[in-house]
């Protein structure tokens, strides 16, 4: 057996090395060395991101267990950038005395979930996929419960792990049935072997709900707001963007590549889920006072929008999806970034606390506003473009009614996004949040997000680049 072919897994190895290095460094670095831990970690991770951003030719190793297509590089790069932004935003939080000791773990856990997602994305076999999925979710549970003296955090951790395992066991059961009905676990073989027999369909449904859980679609979403609220904000943002982004990509590839024969089955499923997710999440979001919960529901409805791209099942849809994830990442991370900065300093996360924020923290409010506008799909911000493309992809396949429903929901979503903007800009407050100071990495993260929000839409090259590769899908 030629193990050298394993070395083609560039991204995974590079990430693994970063992880291991950081783990070892954290253990053995002295007082002095630990000062440089975060800078080194960030630089290393940035280097990792840069090194692995060039797409290569498609290949498949380990007998098809691991399948690479160039598009994955983009997806992984997007995840990398997202993670990088999250790490930047977590910088200050991790420098606090209480957390300093735990930051090695933080990095290690975060990066291992990322590694899990890598595997998930590149998997060519259900075993690989399952391992990746679990690698992504088990450390996540510990991250959610990271703040172990906080009751909310513990509760969120418990909810997350229980729900996640419940979901993955159903999913696993589904996989077993798929295996039973086809006799293989390789994606490439499954694509031809799957037929629309009731058992297979049942298996498919059981399997896919595991992913729906990860994407947090209604009605598999109920854990989301609680976990988002309980977890430390940076982890929430990681959860909402990175893990979701990886999952939607995988869902798309699986549906088109593996379950292509079941297209008449999964299209109505997605149709229904999209409608329900967008609507229910929006309706819930209206009432939310806690901004983290609020963004949780918002992210559920965003996931619903993403389904519009998946449902099209075309190359256009694929491109739109990846693009959507990219834009969504910038916008959501910006929003969560603001919340985390403020929460870290003042412990305030309620919408009413944000009254009059613009008077004291104009920059933060500005970033928040951009993020929310982008999430709401307002031009000229990137969110508008991504939404348009997603709708366009669905409309191309004739899903006009779905697009229409989704658009009607954008009105509701605009309403609650505007509520936050109203709080920040319009409302007056007796005791507004004091001036919040943020350190350089956090500022850098805001700059990256803002540039992303402002420029990604205007420069079509990004979309075109993604589009170039999506035709292989």
């Amino acid at each position: 057996m030629d193990y050298s072919s394993f070395l083609q897994m560039n991204e995974e190895f590079s990430l693994l090395m970063v992880m291991l290095f950081l783990l070892i460094y954290d253990i053995f670095a002295g007082e002095k060395g630990s000062k440089y831990f975060q800078p080194i970690a960030l630089v290393l991770f940035a280097a990792h991101t840069l090194l692995n951003c060039i797409p290569r030719d498609a290949f498949s190793i380990a007998g098809g267990m691991y399948q690479y297509v160039p598009m994955q590089t983009y997806v992984k790069t997007i995840l990398n950038i997202g993670t990088f932004i999250v790490l930047l935003q977590a910088h200050k939080f991790l420098n606090e005395d209480a957390n300093r000791i735990k930051r090695g773990e933080f990095y290690f856990l975060t990066l291992s979930t990322l590694l899990g997602m890598y595997f998930m994305i590149s998997s060519g076999n259900f075993l690989m996929f399952f391992i990746g999925l679990e690698t992504a979710s088990i450390p996540m549970a510990t991250l959610v419960a990271f703040d172990k003296y906080n009751r909310k955090s513990a509760e969120a951790g418990a909810k997350y792990i229980l729900s996640a395992v419940f979901a993955s066991s159903i999913s696993l059961f589904g996989m077993s049935l798929i295996y039973g009905s086809t006799g293989t676990l390789y994606f490439s073989d499954l694509a031809t072997l799957i037929t629309a027999s009731p058992l297979t369909i049942m298996a498919f449904v059981f399997f896919s709900v595991g992913l729906f859980f990860k994407i947090s679609l209604v009605p598999f979403h109920l854990w989301t707001p609680d976990v988002y609220e309980g977890a430390q904000t940076n982890i929430t943002s990681y959860l909402s963007v990175i893990s979701k982004g990886a999952a939607v990509f995988v869902l798309f590839t699986l549906l088109t590549k593996v379950f292509g024969h079941l297209v008449t089955q999964w299209q109505p499923i997605l149709y229904g889920l999209a409608v329900v997710s967008i609507t229910v999440a929006n309706v819930f979001a209206i009432r939310q006072q806690n901004l983290k919960r609020f963004l949780a529901f918002s992210s559920i409805s965003q996931a619903g929008y993403i389904l519009l791209a998946i449902i099209s099942g075309t190359a256009l849809g694929m491109t739109s999806l990846v693009y959507y994830v990219l834009v969504y990442m910038f916008s959501n991370l910006a929003a969560f970034g603001v919340i985390s900065v403020i929460e870290n300093q003042t412990k305030k996360v309620l919408m009413s606390d944000y009254n009059g924020l613009y008077q004291t923290n104009p920059r933060l409010s500005f970033v928040m506003m951009l993020a929310l506008f982008s999430l709401a799909g307002i031009p000229p911000f990137a969110g508008f473009f991504s939404k348009f493309f997603v709708f366009s992809a669905a409309a191309q396949q004739g899903y006009y009614v779905l697009v229409f429903i989704a658009l009607l929901n954008t009105i509701i979503s605009l309403y609650y996004y505007l509520l936050v903007i109203k709080a920040m800009f319009l409302n007056k407050s007796e005791n507004p949040i004091e001036v919040v100071k943020s350190d350089f990495p956090v500022k850098l993260s805001f700059v990256i997000c803002t540039l992303g929000i402002l420029l990604v839409g205007l420069f079509s090259t990004i979309y075109d680049q993604i589009g170039l590769l999506s035709f292989g899908m």
């Binding site: 031009p379 409309a395 658009l407 009105i411 309403y415 079509s460 979309y463 075109d464």
Partner: protein, 493 residues
């Protein structure tokens, strides 16, 4: 990129300038400089347009330019103007210019105000120069969203409610619109989003049946079509002066323009079949808006309902589908834009002095505010269609045009719409009579001061153009008329 893009770039540069500036003087400098630049620029454009046409250039759109933007969706950044767009650009530049002068004293946060104002205006300009469905829609939405903050922060009265309502309703309209646009694009099988190209293709009639109502209603919401007009009274009443001006003056025109340029132009068969529904709705708008205005006591509400009525007339005329009424519709857009902007400017100035907008609480202001009073009367007369002011030209073109329709139903509707001119007279004169004429009611009003120089600039500019349009309409009607022909040709075919 061609020079038309300057219309978008200048506001963008203004925004940058504003962003960097830090004193009130600088802000005002950037705004006035930018606004005047836009005004000059639109004049130059008009001049160039005329020379091009005179030189025999018979293309539908002039000064076109086309850059591929998103090739996957065939989205191009394509610009071009015809007579209608030029007219609209002139209108926009006038109102942006006067709007700046009307908001000379805006407080608090002047910088932010002007920033949003610039964004709003760049959206409007962009809309009028676009010939691509996507960019058109994008600019349309760009123009919508700053309204929320502009009204919410600098407005008066129930501003938060009004801002929210306006934004959401208009977004609702744009939701319909987006489905319509996507439908047009995919159903036509076009390989481009350029309107002119799509117009050459044929959209299957059963598809048109779906997308025409969507598109028309989508734009119609912004054009304050009954029953989607309720954002207008609340929104306009709460908005700060310049925003009311720009919104009622220009933004509502986006609706009519879009209906004409997109809905009717691209889906002529459905337009023919379904026009009667919308004719009834817009006919209702015309009369209903006027009747509702009679009962209002808040100056801005009166004017907002009056806008509903007048903008209803725009859509009404468009739906009559002949060249005269369509020309009239465009003229009405111009005329209503100028008149209503003047109204809002004056109302804002008066409100700034009296701190009330209820006509029951004022009286005899003509005596203390002769300049504003006279201008208000002129605006009123313009609104009720006095010959020599713009309203007359526009309304008469519409009525004469609409009445040329061979179908009796259309002519009867025209007659009903005509009746709005009487009702308009009623509420205008009632308003003028109540608060300008008569005796001074509130002793505090005895010592008000008349308009300052920057207010005068704003008002006089608007009045000047109202007269220019109303007394010598030929310079612009020909331009509009020949640009209307392609669309009407499409409809008649």
């Amino acid at each position: 990129m061609n020079f038309l893009s300057l219309f978008v770039l200048i506001p963008a540069l203004m925004m940058m300038g504003l962003f960097l500036s830090n004193s009130r003087k600088q802000l005002l400098f950037f705004m006035t400089a930018g606004a005047s630049l836009l005004m000059i620029f639109s004049t130059v454009l008009t001049y160039m347009y005329f020379t091009e046409r005179a030189a025999g250039n018979a293309a539908t759109m002039l000064f076109t330019a086309d850059t591929v933007w998103y090739s996957a969706f065939n989205i191009h950044y394509s610009v071009g103007v015809d007579g209608i767009s030029v007219a609209m650009l002139i209108l926009t530049s006038i109102i942006v210019f006067t709007g700046v002068f009307a908001s000379w004293k805006i407080d608090p946060l002047p910088k932010e105000f002007f920033l949003w104002f610039c964004l709003l205006s760049s959206g409007v300009y962009g809309f009028f120069i676009s010939t691509d469905l996507f960019t058109m829609f994008m600019y349309y939405e760009i123009a919508l969203i700053p309204m929320y903050l502009l009204i919410g922060i600098w407005g008066t009265g129930k501003k938060e409610y009004a801002a929210m309502k306006l934004t959401l309703m208009l977004m609702g309209g744009s939701a319909l619109l987006l489905v319509g646009i996507l439908g047009i694009y995919y159903a036509s099988g076009a390989t481009t989003m350029n309107i002119l190209e799509i117009a050459k293709l044929h959209i299957p009639i059963e598809m048109q049946y779906y997308f025409f109502p969507l598109t028309f209603t989508g734009f119609g919401v912004l054009g304050a079509m009954f029953p989607f007009h309720t954002w207008s009274p609340d929104g306009h009443a709460s908005a700060p002066t310049a925003v009311s001006m720009l919104h009622a003056g220009v933004l509502m025109k986006l609706g009519g323009y879009g209906c004409f340029r997109v809905a009717m132009y691209l889906m002529p068969q459905a337009a023919h079949e379904l026009a009667w529904i919308f004719l009834i709705l817009t006919g209702i708008s015309v009369v209903y808006g006027a009747f509702s205005a009679i009962h209002q006591t808040d100056l801005k509400y009166i004017n907002a309902y009056s806008s509903v009525s007048h903008c209803g007339l725009v859509l009404f005329a468009i739906l009559m589908m002949n060249e005269t009424s369509a020309t009239g519709a465009i003229l009405q857009m111009l005329s209503h834009g100028l008149t209503t902007a003047l109204f809002f400017a004056l109302i804002g100035m008066i409100y700034g002095r009296t701190h009330t907008r209820l006509i029951t609480e004022m009286g005899g202001l003509m005596k203390v505010l002769p300049f504003l009073g006279v201008c208000f009367v002129i605006a009123g007369l313009g609104s009720l269609g006095l010959p020599s002011l713009s309203g007359f030209v526009a309304e008469m073109t519409i009525f004469v045009g609409s009445f040329q329709h061979t179908d009796l139903f259309h002519r009867v509707l025209t007659v009903l719409a005509c009746s709005s001119i009487v009702i308009t007279a009623v509420y205008i004169l009632r308003m003028v009579g109540k608060f300008l004429l008569g005796k001074i009611q509130d002793p505090h009003h005895e010592h008000l001061t008349d308009a300052t120089w920057f207010e005068r600039i704003s008002v006089v500019t608007l009045i000047f153009f109202m007269f220019a349009l109303g007394s010598a309409p030929f310079w612009i009607t020909n331009m509009i008329h020949e640009s209307v022909l392609p669309v009407i040709g499409q409809l008649v075919k």
